[in-house]
């Protein structure tokens, strides 16, 4: 009884392989070929080596190495790549995963513990993966009277909205998924969705704890949305643009945090509140309302919410970097790509390989990304820090802080920006431009 497949017959296995091949060919010709033609007709394709790319031609990169890198390079400049990999989802998810690990180790060191230790041999580096698999293998339990479609949709919407937020963050010159001219307003629009999702799922779950948690999420937005908006007005006044990339370009010489420290502080506090991190984690206050609006989520649904939360964390830290810390600006520290590899190729023993199309990324972009990541990680660490230092606050304290203190500070910040502008320190024709 200990055999893995007791009913195994070789002939049936071979027969099933043929079956499989048949179905693959059938599905490819019914679905794959139409897709190829749709791509040919509707999608803009690049010109590689003086030849227009087609999906058929794209297949030849395997046979012709000289085409490989140009094709990859041209792919990297498509919107799809940006969405899926570099400034978009993949990059953000990678940083988010790193953040989770760093948070656990960082917090553990602060609290005289060791943190994750065993999973993955080296300092528990694979702990996150283990947690992911654990969550995935857990049963999803949905309360009987819950509004099931909305409840299922909640985590997906949350991750999607976090992704939409990530789309607006410029990482390097020209490397941004979406670059609308009113990027900052788009950011505000996207941020506004998060409490709505919280309330929606809280309502759908039909539990008292989630309900109170959702209401608290709403109150938190009420308290901190206006300080958030007002604290960024100073940056917009000084840079004269709502486009995030242009705001970064305007900080080529000076970071706005040097002139608008009050705005930066207010914005940082509102970040903590929007992220529901520890001094302001009222919607998830576990000792009062179990887990707040997350109470009824189980298994991978909870995992998706966590993923969305950390994507959001990355996006907010990126936004802080973009608005106050000069984004990708920084001294050029990335070494230039060695010229002899481009001209002579790489020589390994007797073989010399030429790679046309190198370098894949230009130096400016790599340098910008480096600085952006360094600054963003710094901001993320700063966001993680209060968790080890502060206790949770109360809802009336949140509202009081938001309305009585932060709004006043935000107004002061606006007047500082106006003063700088009209005193001729900054702006066109100013002393420092």
């Amino acid at each position: 009884m200990s055999t893995i497949a007791p009913q195994f017959r070789l002939s049936r296995f071979i027969g099933s392989l043929f079956d499989l091949i048949f179905w693959v060919i059938l599905i490819f010709s019914l679905v794959g070929l139409p897709i190829v033609f749709i791509v040919l007709f509707y999608i803009k394709l690049p010109v590689i080596n003086g030849q227009l790319m087609t999906p058929y031609l794209a297949m030849t990169w395997m046979a012709d190495p000289s085409r490989t890198l140009p094709i990859v390079k041209s792919f990297m400049h498509t919107t799809i790549f940006r969405v899926m990999a570099f400034p978009g989802f993949g990059f953000a998810a990678l940083l988010a995963a790193a953040t989770i690990f760093v948070e656990r180790k960082f917090l553990a060191k602060m609290q005289l513990r060791v943190g994750p230790l065993y999973c993955g041999k080296i300092e528990g580096i694979l702990q996150l993966m283990g947690d992911g698999f654990k969550l995935m293998s857990k049963e999803i339990i949905i309360p009987a009277k819950a509004d099931k479609p909305i409840f299922w949709l909640g985590p997906l919407l949350f991750v999607g909205t976090a992704g939409a937020f990530v789309a607006l963050i410029p990482v390097a010159p020209g490397w941004v998924v979406a670059n609308p001219s009113v990027g900052l307003l788009a950011v505000f629009a996207v941020i506004g969705f998060f409490p709505i999702i919280a309330v929606l799922t809280a309502w759908a779950a039909n539990s008292k704890w989630t309900f109170i948690g959702g209401l608290r999420a709403l109150h938190q937005m009420v308290a901190f949305e206006i300080p958030l908006i007002l604290s960024l007005l100073g940056v917009v006044i000084l840079s004269g643009s709502l486009n995030l990339s242009q705001i970064v370009q305007s900080q080529e010489h000076f970071w706005w945090i040097a002139f608008l420290p009050i705005g930066a502080i207010v914005f940082f506090i509102t970040i903590l509140a929007e992220l529901e991190r520890i001094p302001f984690d009222l919607p998830e206050a576990e000792s009062e309302i179990v887990a707040g609006w997350l109470t009824e989520f189980s298994g991978m649904m909870y995992g998706l919410i966590q993923l969305g939360t950390y994507l959001k964390l990355y996006a907010f830290a990126g936004l802080f970097t973009v608005l106050f810390l000069g984004g990708w600006n920084g001294p050029m520290v990335w070494p230039p790509f060695p010229q002899d590899i481009i001209t002579q190729g790489i020589t390994i023993g007797p073989v010399t390989a030429h790679f046309p199309g190198l370098p894949l990324f230009d130096q400016e972009m790599l340098n910008g990304t480096l600085w952006f990541v360094i600054k963003t990680v710094g901001v993320i660490l700063l966001i993680l820090l209060p968790r080890g230092v502060f206790p949770r606050v109360r809802i009336d304290m949140i509202l009081h802080t938001g309305w009585y203190k932060l709004i006043g500070l935000a107004f002061i910040n606006i007047f500082i920006a106006l003063g700088l502008l009209y005193a001729g320190v900054l702006g066109p024709g100013g002393l420092l431009h």
Binding site: L107, M110, Q111, L112, R113, K208, W209, I212, I278, P279, D281, L282, A285, E286, S287, E288, I289, V290, A291, R387, G388, V389, F390, P391, R392, V393, R394, I395, D396, M397
Partner: protein, 377 residues
């Protein structure tokens, strides 16, 4: 009544929009107990505590076992403070049987009781920290408990349930080299305590949150018969160790910590400050302890109490613990009643939580120094 309903709010008018919340027994903000809380929005309009989820009838069980057999199971209600909950039992049985305790044993008992008090308060403080969302304050005391657990393990051989105090003295003598080790660890611990002050008690957010919440006035504290840190936080200078000194507490140098405010912050700070006093007591007792001598008066096997009754009490981490033991000339006690501080402080809960914000519930609840397992016995 100190905390009224907020202005403009009457129970009759808000009746239909009241939501009933069951806080506990499976709730991260409750112990093994239930608070049936009715909330109107963010305000609690009524609270009905429902303990008893861990009621085991320790008092009934004690009637079936003889005086020595009772020792291990009578410490079960609060294993983190096991020396202190056994202390009045030992005192009571000694009074019933008319036994004198050797001088050295008295000092060892005091040291064990104070070490155990620190263990309990650290555990309590850890949970107070995590109830307020301060995870560092959970990890630090939980880690520093090990210092005292190690010391008590060296003394008694067990890490948590020591059963170290017995009628007639203590179970065994101190191990060799204990004094230096104890002094070293206690002095290190005092350094750590000052760090707690910096990260927790002087934290502006903590102060803003707990100061002025759940105020219990001096008159109410007396009228409700509260005890321990709750009583002393309301300005009543009462500590059984000072008022009715048992064993050698009258020879030792310590103070009673009293605060006037009576709010949640004061209730959380009193046990913390008492740990300094505990350290002082331990150091003083180590100095004054006779360096050698017997540590236990031998009892007759299976001793019988007379037709008598005693009521003895000590100060534990949660307030006075009183044992009322009735004996009827048999090896087993006829009736054992344990009056614990947690059960006496339970009465404050409906009293203080009414009119309080829901966000204050954990701070007020845990500030009462209420240990559900002990209250249920």
């Amino acid at each position: 009544m100190t905390t009224q309903l907020p202005p403009g709010m009457h129970i009759e008018t808000v009746d239909e929009k009241i939501m009933t919340l069951n806080v506990g027994p499976q709730h991260p903000g409750s112990g093994h107990m239930r608070l049936i809380i009715k909330v109107d929005g963010d305000y609690i309009v009524s609270c009905d505590p429902d303990p008893g989820y861990v009621h085991r009838g320790e008092e009934k069980m004690a009637e079936y076992r003889n005086y020595i057999q009772n020792i291990p199971h009578l410490e079960r209600p609060v294993i983190h403070d096991s020396s202190n909950i056994l202390y009045p039992y030992c005192l009571g049985v000694e009074e019933l049987l008319g036994i004198e305790v050797p001088e050295r044993a008295k000092y060892i008992r005091v040291i064990a009781a104070e070490l155990n008090r620190c263990i309990y308060i650290l555990y309590w403080l850890a949970i107070y920290g995590i109830f307020l969302g301060h995870s560092t304050m959970f990890m630090w005391p939980a880690g520093d408990r090990e210092l005292f657990i190690d010391l008590l393990e060296a003394m008694s051989g067990a890490r948590v349930t020591h059963a170290y105090l017995v009628p007639g003295g203590v179970r065994n003598d101190l191990p060799s080299n204990f004094e230096e080790r104890c002094l070293r660890q206690v002095e290190y611990f005092e350094k750590r305590l000052r760090e707690y002050e910096a990260i927790f008690y002087q934290n502006p957010l903590l102060k803003a949150r707990t100061e002025g919440s759940g105020i219990l006035s001096r008159t109410d504290a007396i009228r409700l018969g509260t005890t321990g840190s709750v009583l002393r936080a309301s300005g009543v200078d009462f500590d059984v160790r000072k008022k009715e000194p048992y064993d050698v507490y009258e020879n030792l140098d310590f103070q009673t910590i009293v605060m006037k405010e009576g709010d949640s912050y004061a209730r959380s700070r009193i046990p913390y400050l008492e740990m300094f006093e505990s350290c002082r007591i331990i150091k003083d007792a180590l100095k004054k302890m006779p360096k050698s001598g017997s540590v236990r008066t031998k009892l007759k096997p299976n001793p019988k109490g007379g037709n008598d009754e005693v009521y003895r009490r000590v100060e534990s981490g949660r307030g006075a613990i009183g044992y009322y033991i009735v004996s009827n000339n048999r090896p087993e006690p006829y009736r054992v009643k344990i009056s614990v501080g947690s059960f006496r402080n339970l009465i404050c809960m409906p009293y203080l939580l009414k009119g309080e914000k829901l966000g204050n519930m954990p701070a007020v609840y845990w500030g009462l120094n209420y240990w559900p397992v002990e209250a249920d016995r």
